[in-house]
Amino acid sequence: MINQHEILETINMISHENLDIRTITLGISLADCAHPDMANLCQRIYDKVVRVANNLVRTSEDIEREYGIPIINKRIAVTPISLVAAPANGDYVKVALALDQAAAELGVNFIGGYSALVHKGYTLGDERLIASIPATLAATKRVCASVNVATTKAGINMDAVAQMGRVIRHSAELTAADGSIGCAKLVVFANAPEDNPFMAGAFHGVGEPESVLNVGVSGPGVIARTLQKLGPGANFTELAELIKKAAFKITRMGQLVGTETSRRLGVPFGVVDLSLAPTPAVGDSVALILEEMGLERCGAPGTTAALALLNDAVKKGGIMASSHVGGLSGSFIPVSEDAGMVAAVAAGALSLEKLEAMTCVCSVGLDMIAVPGDTPDYTISAIIADEVAIGMVNNKTTAVRIIPVIGKQAGDAVEFGGLLGQAVVMPVNRFSSQDFVARGGRIPAPIHSLRN
């Protein structure tokens, strides 16, 4: 029998420590929607998404009520559109509009999968899709785009890296009136996972079943509060133990909600993503956890080590709590979405270079970072190249979601709204990487990619 203390602990985590299910993401294969006629293709995609995800929001809301746990986002991930739309000629923005309309109809806040995987090179579908990304992000509200430019096995496609710098700049310019928000819906990946439930990088990979339900949990607030209770005298062994236990409890909640939702929807359950995902809410912050460990500000020397401990303990606690683990599974450090990170940037404690170092020991990469609006495309490309090199060499997922905010300078504040939060524009190294990026070609895969 469950005792009173345990019941109150759970209720307290939900009511006061921002424990929630961050996202329930339904992956849907669109492979059978491919059609050479654009209008027909769009109709087939719209029909399938609306049919398969028809009960997603209602079922999630029933479960929220019955278990008393908030499910913040209900989302959809689809097969990379560069594959589905490959037979069709014409403007891919129409496909994005069909996805946007389906998402609006279903009441989901984001639909991911406007994606291309080009780590080794481009297909015709990839070329058309990537060229249409800026217009798509400006014309739609809910569609998220991602492009995989590197893997540990294939190396880095530097032509794609160079192009993505231009795509990001163009997206920023087309959405300049809204704080260049188009770029908040675009991720550039190395080693993109096929079952990631988190946006903006979710897509339904080719190895996935017809449809599948993946869950992302949250809970930085729970971990931070746990460390507060432990106090400043505890050593790192004690810290790690406590984080593992809290992560186990958080993840069990995700596993329960995921399996119950998939049972009711009649869709196989995929994975729990063991990521610690912060929100702009006060206290729901990964930076706060690092500061609880004894750092005056996130970004101070020691931050990378603190994050390494946190990231590892969360995985160790979470792995036993779930039947299958996947997605990104690591601590997120999206700057604008984490009030503690924003404060650290504003205080001058956290720089782009420190964030890059932090991404070596956690997921997912340089995430939701605002940079000056006049940052050249080749500088953005070079930042991407650095970040995907970390992913390629360390056999892990890394990503870049960077926002050159048109009209803003370093130190300016930008409001993205909602879960995307607000950011302080970070300064970027002003020395040029133009000739480096202009070389093109591919950076070969590292020697340790040859594991057979």
């Binding site: 029933d62 008393g68 746990i69 329960l256």
Partner: protein, 89 residues
């Protein structure tokens, strides 16, 4: 199906009466009650069986909330699985 009802608030006359009346009207059987005052907050935890309930889970939750608000109480109705899942291996 079993559920857990948690009642938090300032102690006053009639809390248990209100909750148990609401449950009786809905044909919900009470399996266990614990009640204490923690840091001046009235805390009551009930384990109930809702298998024979004559209203939906959602409606029961709404009735408890509405009646609870009238007495200045916070009432949670949750399926028991969430606590088992979190605290038991």
């Amino acid at each position: 199906m079993r559920a857990v009802i948690t009642v938090l608030g300032t102690d006053r006359v009639g809390i248990i009466a209100m909750v148990s009346t609401t449950l009786a009207e809905a044909s919900v059987n009470i399996l266990d009650i614990t009640q204490t005052i923690m840091q001046n907050i009235f805390t009551m935890i009930m384990v109930v069986d809702i298998a024979q309930a004559n209203i939906s889970f959602e409606e029961l939750g709404q009735r408890l909330n509405a009646n609870g608000e009238a007495l200045g109480l916070q009432i949670h109705l949750q399926r028991e699985d969430i606590f088992n899942s979190m605290h038991r291996i």
